[in-house]
Symmetry: C2
Subunit: 287 residues, 2 copies
Amino acid sequence: MRSLPHFRRMVIAGVGLIGGSLALACREKGVVSEIVGVGRGEKNLQDAVALKVIDSYTFKIEDAVKGADLVILATPVKSLARLAGEMASSLSPGAIVTDVGSVKEPVLQIEDLMPPGVHFVGAHPIAGKERSGVKAASPALFKGARCILTPTSKTHPDALNRVHALWEMAGSYVIIMDPARHDRIFAAVSHLPHLVAYALVNTLLDLEKSEEGLISYSAGGFRDFTRIAASHPEMWKDICLMNRENIIEMLEKYETTIGRLKSIIRSGDADALYDEFERARQVREKL
Amino acid sequence: MRSLPHFRRMVIAGVGLIGGSLALACREKGVVSEIVGVGRGEKNLQDAVALKVIDSYTFKIEDAVKGADLVILATPVKSLARLAGEMASSLSPGAIVTDVGSVKEPVLQIEDLMPPGVHFVGAHPIAGKERSGVKAASPALFKGARCILTPTSKTHPDALNRVHALWEMAGSYVIIMDPARHDRIFAAVSHLPHLVAYALVNTLLDLEKSEEGLISYSAGGFRDFTRIAASHPEMWKDICLMNRENIIEMLEKYETTIGRLKSIIRSGDADALYDEFERARQVREKL
């Protein structure tokens, strides 16, 4: 394991489940002296202070980052570039800026907004919970989870190493990946499943207009879809629009598979249908 | 509640999770004197005797049904018509034949195979477990679950009443429904979700051919899909082919929704995308 960095002043912009959990992990390991929260909702920031997630807070990121050597952007992906612009001129040389967004290519613009001597490293911790918000934060959230770092040719190697060490400290297994490859893979394994679930639930809602009570007949299988489709609509809207090209490509691949199943069913080809289902069944054993 | 019928000799063809659980519920309530199992696998039937699910067994349904006043067909839906044909001439007048199949219109042919004085009533208990087989059977499986009965104009009212009382005795909430409506509703709420899950898993398998390790990046959302797609491929193949027309219709409605989402994402219409997701999210609160 890499040697643990020590940070004097850490800023968490967006003190929710992810930002709050990373702050708690840093505290637990004693790798940070001071943690400053940035947000818009004062009640949430007060809760975060009461929970000892942060030491203090401010509403202005440009105030928070003065003298900070580590800035974690943990707000919705759509807001990252704006925040980067707001804080850029206040950042101190030597500071590291990193994020936790689930789309990585559009985040690259942050890199170009950084002043000389400030280094950006893109990160995507693969962690979550059904509950969100700082009250659900836990120093153990990232233990055993993967965290993907997406450096570019411009990324400073020392900054990359320090962010790597930070996530290892939090218990994550760090993977280095090209940002474009990250966005393509997550369009397939994360964004597509959410769209598939939203589409299924809405198809049944459409059907219920002419068949009242239809959804009440659903059982376990469908209930799992509604759980996925209950994810934050605001966040998923942003992800879909920021990873648009990859998601459209994945939706089209998915449409091809649906079309294939439909034509097998229509033709009554029992063997081919069995093969499709059996192939899918085996994946679970491998996971 | 209807008065409990008493059955002298009950035959369970297919002593698995559903057939076994119904047998156990009947025993617990003391509504049956003798239970005879019919199956192909002797080990399973021996297990069922050891678990006191059945009193005895035979491999030939025509032997089992002699003198029986209640015959439960709990084998895969595809085999129901064949079994009905095999046993028809051995059934005793007054016997009630019922099934537990998840597709109901194709089962109607059983009605026409019954000799005079023998009454068929279609049934679909909405119950299941991740584990299958007689060892997973429980007298409580149907408690609080729905059971749909699908009588036709030919169904004998007394037979319908007795089957109704049987499922109420097992703890189910009984719903009477037209067989065609049943098959349409379940194409939407049960069969379509399974196909959607199979298609998603297979799309990712296709993608993994050119992007090795892709599926290993999947998180909670996708894992739920693999659970659904791990269902018995043989059973789902039969259901899809037996409820073909309804399923194709539902797949087409689903394709329409996927196409709508795709065009909203392509056009970048954030408000419309948010509305789609928010609409889906609310369903969970209602369930």
